[in-house]
Symmetry: C2
Subunit: 112 residues, 2 copies
């Protein structure tokens, strides 16, 4: 199936996972996989959280920011991907001066 | 972890899944999730295949093409995502005049 983001409404999710400001996101979820196109304004963040039953792949479309993955800080920019394996923790902060836009894929995976 | 595609070597995969021409791809796989940044030149395709143990999410970065998903044809262009759920079949053809560039995420998921 196709996700045409020009036809999906954007939701505002304040303090997402305990982060700063809000995440604006276009979300799809069928119980097995979450697919989102989202953006964080400068200074906005997704709070630290653990992926217990799923994993997450993020591909940065625009802007730049910093991931904290298992406590380690890592800068990221448009054209990079970030992988948070199952059982690991991460957060994402827009440390740049423009919106940080990304695609996120969060599939539910086998129990560890 | 970060995937910096400027540092990952591109592989050429001729007749990928039985498709035409070749797919050029930068691949990551840890046994649990495959993450690829790939491109198909005009006329190139990924052949029809079924996702038995995994699912696939594709986000189109550049160009346009056509997915065939469970026998149904669907045009796709830069900015759209495509979702092939577990147990379903798909193929992708670059029907455009420029390279079709995309991100693919293929996680291994729970048995059906």
């Amino acid at each position: 199936m196709k996700l045409d983001y020009s036809k999906i409404e954007e939701q505002s999710l304040p303090n997402f996972k305990g982060g700063e400001k809000s995440m604006e996101a276009k979300m799809f979820f069928d119980g097995k996989c979450r697919i989102l196109k989202a953006r964080l304004q400068p200074g906005a963040s997704i709070g630290m959280h653990k992926h217990e039953t799923n994993l997450e792949v993020i591909y940065v479309l625009k802007g730049n920011g910093t991931f904290i993955y298992d406590g380690e800080s890592c800068p990221i920019e448009a054209g990079n991907a970030h992988y948070c394996a199952q059982g690991h923790t991460h957060s994402l902060i827009n440390t740049g001066t423009e919106d940080l836009e990304f695609i996120g894929v969060v599939p539910e995976v086998q129990a560890q």
